[in-house]
Amino acid sequence: APATSTNEPGDEDAASPANLVTPVQLRSGYNYLTKYGFLPKPNPLAGSLLSHEEFNEGIRAFQEFYRLPVTGVLDQSTSSLMELPRCGLPDIMPDEDGTRKRR
């Protein structure tokens, strides 16, 4: 079963410092979101930086997909779910044109 969260949407404590994750979790969070389709894969032929907004959008997409409180922040409940063993297929499949779309 997924980790449960006591944070409800709009809960002010959801993004409190105590509820945020470490840089290591942040990095693995980025890898996770990329691997499972919530963020676009980096283009190897072009240097690219991911903005905070894009990263948070990826978190938000993951939270929406799994019906977690949608904070856009990599909080503990989100990170806990990401740590569960799982299937290797992406949750969101890229379309032929490279855009991401739930299928």
Partner: protein, 395 residues
């Protein structure tokens, strides 16, 4: 559930084991994989045939790290397995990370049956579901003995391949198809305050509504909706009636579950009997053999009394299911013995209980409106008619 856009276009799907994991005996692996396929095969009309030589639609292998596809495994934990959607070459194949400790029990390691059942869902064309309790949710959820395919997956796979005869998705707490109906549950909803439903495909009116196995089934044209015991429309509906009830005519006049658990459907001058989803091959029969007129509007079974009310126009008949005849003195005028507010030429009627007040209500539906008849007072409540789709379907 999510479809990927891919599916097998043949009924028989072949599978093959390319190698085995050292974690389990050969027979344990074969049984786990066969059972994992069969949990899907029990829901859909397709069959799975194991082959030992040549290629197969679903080829199964155990490997670690890089293994000749673009998706290397990552050691213990993390990714457990992956599979490819239906198609040529790798399509359908399932790969298991042999760095996991695969088991066949519920208490330790990673249960191979559960992982395989999930992967074979991909092999058949399902993507990951956002319903976290479903088999097709991406996360490993452990194994429970006597595992049953969850509702979300059941509907998802049947909407791709159709339903195996008699295979009806069951919700938790919902009696299985074919089981006799129990007494009214104490936790039935307050009917006039249903939860808003997520299904956007609401109809403006319904041909027939029947309480079957405790659930409300709402029929319109060739489709039906399903409402669980909490009065919530179920996701994934409407679907074609033909996926549950073989050869059922469209645009029904009426439907009800009889005291002997048979399900009866009426249309025009004929009626059909089904047990669960199986049609009695001797049907249809003419409605007139019941002593009723053609083209009835509604059928309303009255609890376990063995009496069923049939409505047409402004008249109603009381039918004795034991004696198999209409009681003497019928038909009577609806307005005389129910309430003058009850609509004539109704579309359908059904009963539901308000658990808070322990009051049974009869609901009469015509076009977009419904009337609530308080059985204890013998009157239609004030404030009615109201919008059926708004109150019941959350539209």
């Amino acid at each position: 559930y999510a479809h990927t856009g891919a599916k097998w276009d043949r009924r028989e799907i072949t599978w093959k084991i390319r190698n085995y994991s050292p974690d389990l005996t050969t027979s344990e692996i074969i049984d786990a994989l066969r059972n994992a396929l069969q949990i899907w095969g029990d829901a859909i009309p397709n069959t799975f045939r194991r082959v030992h030589v040549g290629s197969a639609d679903i080829e199964i292998s155990f490997s670690v790290g890089l293994h000749q596809d673009d998706y290397p495994f990552d050691g213990p934990g993390g990714t457990l397995a992956h599979a490819f959607f239906p198609g040529d070459d790798l399509g359908g194949d399932a790969h298991f990370d042999d760095d996991e400790q695969f088991t066949v029990n519920a208490y330790e390691g990673t249960n191979l049956f559960i992982v395989a059942a999930h992967e074979f869902g991909h092999s058949l064309g399902l993507g990951h579901s956002s319903e976290i309790t479903s088999l097709m949710a991406a996360f490993y959820q452990g194994y429970k003995p006597n595992y049953e395919l969850p509702y979300d997956d059941h509907v998802g796979i049947q909407s791709l391949y159709g339903a195996r005869q008699g295979s009806i998705p069951s919700l938790p707490d919902v009696p299985i198809a074919g089981a006799p109906p129990g007494p009214p549950r104490p936790d039935l909803p307050v009917p006039n305050t249903p939860e808003p439903g997520p299904d956007p495909h609401c109809a403006n009116s319904y041909n027939a509504i029947a309480k079957i196995r405790g659930e409300l089934m709402l029929f319109k044209g060739k489709s039906f909706w399903r409402m669980n015991m909490k009065g919530e429309p179920l996701e994934g509906y409407p679907i074609d009636t033909s996926r549950f009830w073989d050869q059922l005519p469209v645009k029904l006049d009426a439907a009800y579950e009889r005291i002997d658990d048979k399900i009866l459907f009426f249309k025009g001058s004929s009626y059909w009997e089904y047990f669960s989803t199986n049609r009695d091959p001797s049907f249809p029969h003419p409605i007139r053999e019941l002593g009723l007129p053609d083209d009835i509007d509604a059928a309303l079974p009255w609890g376990d009394t063995g009496k069923t009310y049939f409505f047409k126009g402004d008249l109603y008949w009381r039918y004795d299911e034991i004696k198999k005849e209409v009681d003497s003195g019928y038909p009577k005028k609806v307005a005389d013995n129910w309430d003058s507010a009850v609509p004539s030429n109704m579309d359908t009627a059904f009963r539901f209980i308000d658990v808070e007040t322990k009051t049974w209500y009869t609901y009469f539906v015509r076009s977009k409106k419904y009337w609530r008849f308080d059985e204890s007072r013998g009157k239609v409540d004030k404030g009615y008619p109201r919008s059926f789709s708004e109150d019941w379907m959350g539209c």
